[in-house]
Amino acid sequence: MNRPVFFLAVALAAGIAAAQITGVHYIAALILLTAGAAAHFAFGKKTDKTIFLVFFLLGGLLYSFQNTYISVNSIRSFDIKGIKSVKVIVGDDPEQSGSKIYFYGRLLSVYTAAGESTGVTGKIRVTLEKTIAPPPKYGDILIVKGKLREPEPPKNPGEFDYKKYLAFKQVYFTLYARDTAVEKQGQSIGNYFKYFSYKCKEKLLSIIYTSLPDAEARVLDGLMLGNQRAIPDDVYDEFKITGTVHILAVSGMNVGMIALFAFFFLKLAGVNRKIAAAATMVLVVSFMVITGAGGSIVRSTLMSCMVLLAVILERDVDAFNSISVAAFAILFFNPSELYDVGFVMSFCAAFGIIYSLEWVNKSLPKIHPWIKEPLATTVAAQLFLTPVMADTFHQVSIIAVLANLAIVPLSGTISIIGYAMWLTGVFFMRAAGVFGAAAWALIKVMLLITHLAAQAPYAAISVKTLPVLFTLIYYIFFITLPHGDIDLKIKNMSLKSAAGIILAFWAVFHIVVPSNPALTCPAFRGLNAAFIQAPGNKKILVIKGADIKPGTAVRSSMVPFLRSLGINNIDSLVLYTIPAKESIPLFMNFRVKHVYCDAQSKTGFSGEETINGSSYYKEGNDAFMDLSPDMAEITVKEADFVFVNYPETGLLSRQGAVIYLPQSGSNMAGVLSKKNRVIINSLNNGFFRKPPAIAGENIFDTGRTGQYKMEL
């Protein structure tokens, strides 16, 4: 079958990537495209190469225009320091999490000392206190008092880049406001389809939360509507560790099931096949809107619509063409989507299934189709997904294939029951309760399986950033592997087999070989931390809580940081004045050998000899702890600092090299540096309002210079 769209989509994507790498201005890109198009028509021969070139240049222009063109009325043209309040329209269905409400606001005007400036364009990310009444809804026009701020870039390796994430959505500023700073001015429903879809979402949510107990309702909310914020952190982490977290993100499976379900019931109702297909298209598009229209769901919605369109037009459907059209359409209207992790993972998984499922099926041993089919699908998806997941989350789940084999069919069944619950709940709420009870039981089973699988030793392993060359060879290998005729032989040795062996050894080497000894003081909100990779591959992590409430810094920042360094084990974990529940993500994600903690930190632990199987804890004195984990002497004092005396290095002498973990408001770095080598991280601006005074060469700022290399 002819597949020209695939090459056009690849050309467009290549052009976008080239524009991102080169940072070309949109005017230059426009000139290049004009020249390319002229060349294409001038030469008279419309070959594939010139068409490829034109779409390549078009991709470059679209991306550069989106990112380098700033209109006069854009908020980016304003001096945001002078802005005291803004008028926005709530542009989507606000999300609630914890004590906050979040939404994207479309700007109407800004207010400065000089007055109101109307006609301002752009989107901002707004965070409000949850106590605001009434809570904002889609279409509300609000005046919000507060300062616009640029989101901060990540401070530590492996940390989520929120600034870049928002930039891909053309959002460059955030605003936080208390409930007293918000005033509703009116309502303007720009898109009635969206408005109606959000109203339906409210009804669907009420059916879920009245038909199941709260804990299971939250899981079903995540499963069916992709609301990951509703799911407890420890449950979400278990899904991540087992490689099954994708079921909590709306994707092709959800859309496919909705389409199948809707089609089936319309067929039962005697509706004509083509009308049923059209109605199902409206339904899946509405589902896409209420789940936030992320890259993954847009891809699967477009592909489903093409399948349904094929039914209406009585044409055959080709999965390859469908995915190509979806990719082209998404990138044409939003080129930055190429860099959205959800988009990349969704396409890698879908492409993997479409491209290699047949070959994987043939390669698997003869087992029952009930097992073989889901197993082949999982393996085909994971083959193309693994490098992306390793690079993004610095984590590969070893148990993913087995876990998916159990969890995916279960989640599919729960979804079907959920749709039946919705359908009955619209007409008769009590009947929804019957399906709710069934869903509750199966969710319990699913959570149990996930929990047990997550306890397996090394269920997920940390992976450092993969070399680009490795990723390139990996994909070339798996794209050529299904084609037995594509192979080169050098002296009777198959190049393909050699590449496979090299990749396998390279991957093991990359994971197993430890990094050079170094000391890092990562910057985390509400925490002071020092991570030491000592010679002999011993790893010591010291965390000191502070005046500021830690929040979820351990889970959201420290775990990804450690994973990005390829850490799977922590030999000694020192917890000082940090609530025990804050440290639980460390035990869930890593094997911790020894735990040392003070009385405040041990609250929440049962005081048993073992924690998480292979750990034990030993209580220290509140004010002073002398610890001697394997390779380093760590002395922790009630005062501001931690001494690390590391006998075997020339640089850290017994007089005391100091890792400075300050209290809020204090700054003894300058004083300490007169007698000691001081290691700090001045990017931790929760504690350092301005960088500490440098005293000669005695202060080593890991925030500016990266890790502190420990030399033997």
Binding site: S99, P134, Y209, T210, A230, L260, G433, F435
Partner: protein, 106 residues
């Protein structure tokens, strides 16, 4: 009517789920246990058209008497057409309504 393999799977799943759900509801102490004002947030929406008085009492500012009034209002006037209709019930002022509106739905 001819069903495909996938459609048969859906039908069997729905029937089995209905049976399982009935067994759980009849033979176990299973309850939805809806709660309002959870400390860690999340959408909790009580249907003012179908919730019993006990559930309505969980709303902020709604006691036993007001909950009974809401149920009585429904019996006399039929279902609420929009959530603002709750203000028609004696005892629910605008101020009280503003506090609980984020927890209710039709």
């Amino acid at each position: 009517m001819h069903f495909t393999k996938e459609e048969k799977s859906i039908l069997i799943t729905i029937l089995a789920a209905a049976l399982l759900g009935i067994i759980i509801n009849v033979f176990t102490a299973y309850k939805t246990g809806l709660k309002v004002n959870k400390p860690d947030g999340g959408p909790v929406l009580i249907s003012i058209n179908s919730a019993a008085a006990e559930e309505l009492e969980e709303l902020p500012g709604i006691g036993a008497v007001t909950a009974q009034r809401i149920v009585k209002y429904r019996e006399v006037n039929g279902k609420f057409k929009d959530i603002g209709g709750l203000k028609e019930v004696k005892g629910i002022t605008q101020k009280k309504f503003d506090k609980l509106r984020q927890y209710i739905t039709l």
